[in-house]
């Protein structure tokens, strides 16, 4: 009979034996050696039936297809832009994925995006050599004007967004800021300087307490205290924004 040597939701370190025997299956972040399942990284163990996987708590962003990210233009070429993605790799935005307008060959494309501009873009493809293609054609994808960018731990982004965007929409409603959260750990905010500051504090609080339950209520209380207004719980938004 196989034996699980850790508890569900326990922190495990690389090399730690998670389970013995063949009754459990190694999931993401784990590997099997002989009849043991061993942790292949630092993470939070998650036991789902027979499968055991590790949820990452730290680490830099790894580009994935269909992620919406916030990125910065670092170079302009003949037929596109190179953008920095807050990961180990830069991405390519080609003119045909940037806009539906007709652009004559050889035209000055800095008119659309120039070096230093921040964009909200979607990753359309990632190759095995980590060549990344992105697109700015689609709902919510655009160039960002004004506001400020903050960096958060990209592993906490799902918590900042909340279930179907409920957490971020609560912050938006409470502070009146416009907020865009990129999967790559960059967050764009724009609003009154004071409310921007409150929104940043709220995001930092979520980042720090992401692993604790009852987070929504605490963030709600925090926002009510800071803004001095009654805060409606966030509505679930269909699209991440």
């Amino acid at each position: 009979m196989g034996k699980l040597l850790i508890q569900d939701k326990e922190i495990v370190v690389p090399g730690e034996i998670i389970a013995e025997g063949m009754d459990h299956l190694p999931g993401q972040g784990t590997y099997r050696e002989g009849d043991k399942i061993i942790a292949g990284r630092l993470g939070l163990a998650n036991v789902e039936g027979r499968a055991v996987k590790l949820i990452a708590l730290s680490g830099r962003y790894i580009p994935k297809r269909n992620d919406t990210i916030i990125c910065q233009v670092i170079d302009v070429g003949f037929s596109g832009w190179r953008v920095e993605t807050n990961s180990a790799y830069s991405a390519m935005l080609s003119v045909k994925d940037a806009t539906s307008e007709f652009i004559r060959r050889g035209a000055d494309i800095t008119h659309y995006f120039n070096v230093g501009d921040y964009l909200v873009a979607k990753i359309t493809n990632v190759t095995s050599q980590k060549l990344i293609d992105i697109s700015t054609k689609g709902p919510g994808l655009r160039k960002l004007h004004g506001g400020r960018i903050i960096q958060v731990n990209c592993n906490k982004v799902p918590r900042i967004i909340g279930k179907a965007g409920s957490m971020v929409s609560m912050i938006k409603n409470a502070t009146g800021c416009r907020i865009t959260v990129g999967q790559n750990g960059l967050v764009w905010l724009e609003g009154e300087p004071k409310s921007e500051y409150i929104a940043i504090e709220a995001i930092r609080k979520i980042e720090q307490e992401a692993h604790l339950s009852g987070l929504t209520d605490r963030v709600k209380a925090f926002l009510e205290e800071k803004t001095g207004k009654k805060v409606e719980p966030g509505v679930e938004e269909p699209e991440l924004r």
């Binding site: 922190i11 090399g15 050599q129």
Partner: protein, 234 residues
Amino acid sequence: MTYSKRLNDRKMDELRPIEAKVGVIERADGSAMFKIGNTWAYASVYGPRNLYPKFMQDPQSGILRVNYNMMPFSGSGERVRPGANRRAKEISMVSEKALLPVLDLKEFPNSVVDVFIELPQTEAGSRCAGICAASMALADAGLNMKDLVAAVSVGRVDDKLLVDLDYSEEAYEDGPVADIPIAMMPQSGKITLLQMDGEVTKEDLRKAIGMGKEACGRIYEVMKKALKEKYEVQ
């Protein structure tokens, strides 16, 4: 006179007091501190990130780059001349080779993971402390690792076998001394670093490595606890 009692009143297989903490450098992707006696090591990990010059890139896998540095007044005597020197380069290289077997950077082709090991004060065993700190920092950086790496120095002073030599023992003058730094993967028991300075017999070396393995197990427990402490629910 034989070496019958250790100068600091430790048992032969006793380690110096250890203190370990993870996440000490906020801006790094992963960081850790490892203090063993008066030897302090801080390690910070940056990356995976872009690697230039381009000829250094490996399209099959990411590469690891370790930099070991003793700070100017970290030694027990003269000021250490800052910057790279022959010794620091060698230790950077052996530390890198000690850490590489546990790391899997296949997921990050053409990129680099930088590890910076800084030693604010040292009293023997600095490469071992550096490797311990670096392996915790790499785990903290969320990289794929099959195990941690624990390291300790063992050795012979006169006719005694000791664990975790300090400077007074390394510099013992009234008899032969051997200093053997060991790094290993504590779960599998495989050795990733084995160096020696001095002279020992084959039997003593075998025994010393056995003592080192046992001591690495104790260090591993400290490292594990430090890693869990950072992330544990308060």
